[in-house]
């Protein structure tokens, strides 16, 4: 028996006998076991098992052919022998004492939480059955109490599962079921830790508030994909890439299905006559069902008559104009209220001058999601505009020169006073005035 087998034997034995009661070691049993071990090792020395072809679990006697084949054995021999027998143990049954004690504590806590949930549910049922007149404070107080009880149940549901390592693992692997509150909780925490802050920063630095909406605090994660490629919030997108409508990945963090409206809005359309900027609607759809579980929302698939109001218009810019901010706004409709898309079509068929604030107020919507990208004039814009019949490709904006209102200032200082021929002997010191001249002569254009 090799050294590593001798070392790994107690571990392997313990794992094999997990369920049976482990007897005290006696000499005879020990000897029998050694024999058994020798048998197994001698039998395995004849033909390599599939485990011996894996560099993670190869036995010492089969190392040589594996190394010859170019696969170096991984880890120590002790580890490899241990891996041969422990690969099939599920994570929660791994025989680590502290881990198992910890699991026992967490399981007891979970039982407590579940009992509390039951208690709260009973309370809710009792309160619902009670007549509002009998509750102190009447109907209003009853509603308040019910709401607070339901909120506490939701919190307890999260707290019951938050210490489960398998839940954490499943979430990290992206296998979490978003219909369950714990996974939504994890997802929201992750979103708030970075992506939400990024979006909030874009809203601030691009002045979405107050240029487009007076107030905007996103509650849902909206990611933007053009051609299967994720676009960072606020990135400048080539006009050829943004010619086709994007795909959104929308993750909402509260339970249930709801209807949303989707608006893509260009907030920087140059208006040369008025020397100002106006807004233009690039896409408008309503009555889009959304739930925590279905996250993909391709704009090209929204075609239904009761959903699509204004089809996709490729965002374009004009030469010399500053970048256009293209905001993607997700507005939640009131529960159970469907918008009349025919009316929307009539209202917003002329895309120009679209006001998101008035749209929000008119249909009682709440903005829940936001993302944005930018568009500038580039080498493909003219072709895109020609393809879609958008006028203005031949226009070039130039910045108007703004002259200073201050009167010209005469040069000041010791050097300026000694420029004249009376100071010819000082010219070698006086011909270097900032903004006027340097060693090679006059630089100021007159």
């Amino acid at each position: 028996m090799s050294r590593c087998q001798a070392v790994a034997r107690p571990l392997a034995r313990q794992l094999r006998q997990q369920c049976s009661i482990r007897p005290f070691t006696s000499g005879a049993a020990r000897a029998a076991e050694v024999q058994q071990q020798q048998q197994t090792s001698s039998s395995s020395s004849q033909q390599p098992s599939p485990l011996d072809l894996d560099p993670n679990s190869v036995l010492p006697e089969f190392e040589a052919p594996l190394i010859k084949a170019g696969k170096m054995p991984v880890g120590s021999r002790r580890r490899r022998v241990a891996l041969r027998t422990t690969a099939s143990i599920p994570f929660e049954q791994l025989p680590y004492q502290a881990f198992q004690e910890a699991r026992a504590i967490l399981a007891a806590d979970r039982q407590e939480k579940v009992a509390k949930i039951r208690e709260q549910l009973d309370k809710i049922a009792a309160l619902e059955a009670k007549d509002a007149a009998q509750v102190k404070g009447g109907e209003k107080m009853k509603e308040t109490k019910l709401a607070s009880l339901r909120r506490s149940v939701e919190e307890l549901k999260i707290l019951a599962d938050i210490n489960d390592p398998l839940v954490k693992k499943r979430f990290e692997d992206g296998l979490g079921d978003m219909n369950k509150p714990i996974y939504r909780h994890y997802a929201e925490r992750k979103w708030r830790s970075y992506d939400y802050r990024l979006i909030a920063q874009r809203i601030k630095q691009f002045n979405i508030v107050p240029d487009v909406l007076p107030k905007l605090d996103p509650l849902a994660d909206v990611q933007l994909f053009f051609r299967q490629q994720k676009i960072a919030p606020g990135a400048v997108v080539n006009s050829l890439v943004s010619e086709n409508p994007p795909r959104l990945r929308v993750q909402v963090f509260d339970a249930g299905s709801r209807l949303v409206s989707l608006v893509v809005l260009d907030a920087d359309v140059p208006d040369a006559e008025n020397d100002a900027f106006s807004k233009r609607c690039h896409f408008l759809a309503a009555n889009i069902p959304l739930s925590p579980n279905d996250t993909s929302l391709p704009l090209s698939r929204i075609k239904a008559d009761d959903q699509l109001a204004v089809p996709w218009l490729p965002p374009t810019s004009q030469k010399g104009a500053p970048y256009h901010r293209l905001g993607i706004f997700l507005l939640q409709q009131k529960p159970g209220v469907e918008l009349d898309v025919a009316a929307l079509k009539q209202l917003y068929a002329a895309r120009d001058g679209f006001s998101l604030k008035s749209f929000r107020d008119k249909f009682q919507l709440t903005p829940v999601g936001f993302n944005m990208f930018r568009s500038v004039w580039d080498e493909n814009t003219a072709a895109v505009m020609a393809r879609h019949g958008i006028p203005g490709a031949d226009v070039e904006f130039r910045p108007a020169r703004v002259h200073s209102l201050k009167p010209p200032v005469k040069p000041k200082g010791w050097e300026a006073k000694r420029q004249g021929p009376a100071y010819r002997h000082l010219w070698k010191y006086t011909k270097r005035i900032k903004g006027l001249s340097n060693a090679r002569g006059w630089t100021k254009r007159r």
């Binding site: 881990f99 910890a102 699991r103 806590d109 210490n163 693992k169």
Partner: protein
Amino acid sequence: MSTSTSRPFSTTPSLLARKLPTPSSSSAKPARRNRAAPKSENFNRIRTLRRNMFSPAPPPLRMARQRYLRHWTIHRAWMLFRRKQHEAIEKERSRMHAGMFNACEELRKTVGPGSRGEGYLYRVAMEKKGIYGLEGVPIEYARFQTDTPAKEAWNHDWKR
């Protein structure tokens, strides 16, 4: 003595006759060393602080997936355990405090014993004499305790 090797050319008899310090005189040094540097009472604390303050932070824990998950589980269980312990201690202490408060309130309301008025027992119970030492009088008793400073902070005209 011919042990003086540092000045081989010196022929002065007085120099040659000079004695080197004997080993018996040098043996006094370790004794002095032992006497030196009296340790302060905080010596151990200061040594620990010195060690920990200026040493670099320990490296972050590097663990593989499953190991990290086990570590996380144990950490969560430990935090839960600590919280429950704290809550239990807190509860017990507030229970004891409430008990004392109720007892004092009861004392404050009682009349007597004998011809004593209401709250006599409470006042006696609130005495602090002797709790800072056998004959000690707490510093609070040096001056009558008030909620606000006196209107006249110091009487300058006072004469004995």
